[in-house]
Symmetry: C2
Subunit: 424 residues, 2 copies
Amino acid sequence: VRPAPDLPPVEERPVLPSGFAAGGTSAGIKASGRPDLGIVAVTTARPAPAAATFTANLVQAAPVRLSREHLAASGGAARGVIVTSGCANAATGPAGDGDQAAIAGALAAALGCGPAETLCASTGLIGTRLPVDAVRSGIAALVPGGLRADDAGLEAFATAMLTTDTRLKAATTTVVLPSDDDVSRRPVRVSGVAKGVGMMHPRMATMIALILTDAAAEPALLASLLRDAVAATFEQTSVDGDTSTNDTVFLLASGAAGVGRLRSGSPAAAELGAAITAVCRSLARQQAADGEGATTLITCRVSGAADLLDARAAARAVVRSNLVKAAVHGRDPNWGRVAAAVGAAMRPDGTPIALDPTTLAIGLAGTAVFSGVPLPFDAAAVAAAMDAPELLVEVDLGRGQAAAEAFGCDLTEAYVRENSAYST
Amino acid sequence: VRPAPDLPPVEERPVLPSGFAAGGTSAGIKASGRPDLGIVAVTTARPAPAAATFTANLVQAAPVRLSREHLAASGGAARGVIVTSGCANAATGPAGDGDQAAIAGALAAALGCGPAETLCASTGLIGTRLPVDAVRSGIAALVPGGLRADDAGLEAFATAMLTTDTRLKAATTTVVLPSDDDVSRRPVRVSGVAKGVGMMHPRMATMIALILTDAAAEPALLASLLRDAVAATFEQTSVDGDTSTNDTVFLLASGAAGVGRLRSGSPAAAELGAAITAVCRSLARQQAADGEGATTLITCRVSGAADLLDARAAARAVVRSNLVKAAVHGRDPNWGRVAAAVGAAMRPDGTPIALDPTTLAIGLAGTAVFSGVPLPFDAAAVAAAMDAPELLVEVDLGRGQAAAEAFGCDLTEAYVRENSAYST
């Protein structure tokens, strides 16, 4: 699958931008003893401008509600981010809110800032309480002695976020932006880490991801860039159609690269936005590829849509379809399921997309299989081409110029086993 | 699970109302040689008033489009219904339309009526052509010699509809309505047969079902009663979240019971409506229980909703959730997944339902597990109670008086195998 146009290239590794320190530890939240607590601290003199998007689920976890409050109270300024895994702290009532506030207080004390300058996210089982004393001990172990201002620190943080993930998810890119003096230009780093990989069908939000940059920008601009990036990437990703109670994306800008503060609408702001989108897109694809039980990353690329909402809805419908996902697992070029999924696609307001079956075209793994009528094709050859870690499904609606993509994975017996045999 | 209130009792067997004859045969559409062609004929002097609901999928099968045209042309009058299984005749272009018209012509000639007085439905693989000559031979074998005016005829018809279904789906009930003389009352029969069981997530429509009654009613009244019944039953059923290209429900009223023609808004019309709803509900539950790979029928009953749309959306969200379905398969009382599903429920216009986590309550298999906060409960005992052919999930939104139910099934390794190993 070729990269999306107009986006800078991305490397899939954790690279810490300047102005941050990070680390992770095993606090004892997970019974397995695996890492379950990560902290990122801002090391510049002033707190970092910050923005976030959160789940649209009405049953919102305590850390989601607390982070939202803190961002509002601080005006979008953050000193530190804490992520816990193994317990979602969702549907835990007032006691869960108290737990999260206590943790924020402990982190703020350790960092020497106010609680409103901390952000938090958590992931894991819904309905269980966080072991606050264990988390406090974990914070004491990490701040300041356990944090590192290098890539290994970010890797430790990213590792501590994981639950049923089988691998770390990281992405990084650089853009060259005007420096403070407005004459020369300097490189700016944009990096992100994320976790997936079940209860994943982000809506107006996404799973947990943290995007860091050493660019300089106001919170309002960061929020605008993040919203556009999330809509094109995380919100176009589905593992199982289930929208989490804990979806969270944070974006922090340390300003430590020494570049000028970006103005909204400027070419440099657009360049930073493309970098953020590129990092989010890479993370979303890594999440989908590591979807619970998955063996194949599905990319659905829709073109010829009447507008962007139609294109996104059609692409999402394909990667969400259980029947398409099962066919991909079986390497079955059953394009009728793609046609059925696109035909049932709905825009966010519940109305159908603009679609005429006579102008609809479908391609599987590079082979055209339908164009208003079924096309003759070599089913064995397409099945063989589908037997790969990644599959491209192309859909042309033939109704306009808009295009979009979405990311998903195949549906396997292993997904069912993983989600029926264990409480996750 | 107790029966829905205000509905007459239903028996799960095929009982043919008076005024109809039915039969089924193996025409050779299915390579297996199993029955694949069913016909119901109207035996009264005049064609039967008829109504239908069809899939909202924009990629509509040829039989869906042709039946819609015929109903409009005939003003809602039908002489016969033909159902073919093994081939959906969807996404087949103009050639598929020609095939379906040829079949309608053959059926009309055999029944001695105009083509517009025939209705058709089909189910099976998308994108393949119907073998028209084989279907013509099947029609010749059935009409008139192979049709029977008894329950065995309806059973043969229902058997010929099945694809991946493991059992026949039939339901019947009676209501006593005013007779022609408006003094005495007579029994009226309402019967239905249906097929499931994959690509099943009916929207503005349902999978293939045929409802027959010997009551007398105008097409407009039938359409109104059918719409209400389908909205409360088939549209509240999901096997895999995939909306078919072929969903069709027909309702035919022979009038042969000798009761008076029902007036819209009359108590007798409401009684017939309840009988139709009871039959549709039974069929929908039989479809969900026989969902591909399923071992457990899930009924989600939502109460305390602000309005009916909220109640239906919440109940549907629960039975659609892959994670809830997998937890039910594992007999895991993981109520957090129910909370997450309800929290992400959307009304038909894409807006969230009215939900406040502090007034939300959840019950599993009769045990209260959440009421604003997690409740202590005996997980082993609830897991044991979940190990049954049917599970009741109760959700109280605590926001109003509206209630609704929805039907689904567990997600199993067998579902994945069935839908990845074979083109269906």
